[in-house]
């Protein structure tokens, strides 16, 4: 492989990284909002969330990416492949994150809520000041685990033409007729990102253990 090939791989890696970051940046808060709708038990909305989570966790990312890219234009939403990729990743990861947040919410100690209410705090206030920070710390290991899964599933967006780290290997192979070297390098790069996330997750798990209520 030439230096130019390595450059392409780096570009592909960068594409994977920024798309993943956007999806994480959108998917984590979206999961929180959806989980709150779910636990609030609003009549129609919470059922929709249940449906969304069930479907979202069952649908392969690749299928979802293809579906969005091909179907949205029919409804007048003209979407380029990068946006479709980010959207697919976001919707997918949000469905898992919803469950992570919901679990953190439902396992939150009632005793602390009672103490907050006894001091006259409103629901909005104690949610923001008491529950949310702790839910955040408790959820971090699972959220980071989900980020790891997101990066591992991200090659799915290559199928709609996004030139991510995986698709780049196809391009290089198309020129050099040697598919294996770029795949090996790409594999090593993926392992590098993911091992960073895994290390982060282990660190967060140890920290969560220490502060467990």
């Amino acid at each position: 492989m030439t230096a130019g090939d390595y450059q392409m791989l780096l570009d592909g890696a960068w594409t994977t990284i920024w798309i993943s970051l956007l999806a994480i940046g959108g998917g984590v808060p979206l999961g929180l909002v959806l989980s709150l709708i779910r636990v609030s038990r609003f009549p129609v909305l919470s059922q929709i969330v249940v449906l969304y989570v069930s479907l979202g966790r069952a649908t392969p990312l690749l299928t979802l990416a293809l579906f969005l890219f091909v179907t949205l234009p029919v409804f007048g939403v003209n979407i380029d492949k990068y946006t479709a990729g980010v959207l697919a990743l976001t919707l997918n990861t949000a469905s898992f994150n919803t469950e992570v947040w919901r679990s953190a919410y439902q396992s939150f100690p009632q005793s602390q809520i009672e103490a907050a209410r006894a001091t006259g705090m409103t629901r909005a206030l104690y949610f923001r000041r008491i529950m949310l920070p702790q839910m955040w710390y408790a959820s971090l290991p699972s959220l980071v685990n989900e980020m790891t899964l997101l990066v591992k599933a991200s090659p799915a967006i290559a199928v709609i033409g996004v030139v991510d780290l995986t698709r780049v290997t196809n391009r290089i192979a198309a020129q050099t007729y040697e598919p294996l070297p770029p795949i090996l390098v790409a594999g090593a790069m993926y392992m590098l990102f993911i091992s960073v996330l895994v290390r982060l997750q282990r660190h967060l798990e140890k920290r969560a253990e220490r502060y467990a209520t």
Binding site: L66, K152, L180, I183
Partner: protein, 221 residues
Amino acid sequence: MTDLEIVLNEWPRLASGFANTLLLFGISALGAFVLGALMLGAFRSRSKIVRVALGYFVDGMRMLPFLIFAYLLYYGLPTFGVRLDAWTVGLLGLTIYHCAYVAEILRGAWDQLPVGQTESAQAHGYHGFRLMRRIVLPQLVLNSAPVLGNQLIYMLKDTSFLMIITVKELTYAASSIQSMYFVPLEPFLIAIALYWAISLLIEGFVAVVHRSAKERGLGRV
């Protein structure tokens, strides 16, 4: 002809894709569980080489995207003179990749199993394979039913990646109908509904196993 009629006309294509997905999922899931369970004893092997090699294998699979591993097999095996069709490569990839995850899940459960379980079995004359199969493994599976169930769903979803190495599974079928007839919505809706149905079945199965575990006082909360 309406879009839906077109798609329904193509039902053999969808059925064939779905059948492939189910076969690939079913066989690889079985294989991954058997392999993962067989590998379990090696985690506590007396040979350091075995333990280290196993560690590298499991960590490697858990840090690699499935598609990259499938690519490695698909493009790499021929260089070793192994010429397999895409379907077999896909099956192999799914099985080997996921057996590492199953082994790791079972290993985690094993670390949490009270040592008295193994000791009382040993005191009654159990050892080796029989000890694992009769006494240890059933408890590990019952204890980690929900986590294993999640892994099954990942195995189902990973089958879709195989369309990229030309395996004609469900997503490929939906995509090809869409591109042939320009019917964007229906094929994918049907495909997604089918994936959903299977994962609901998996979750139902896991619920049954989990209930069986709870009856016996097993199952991590």
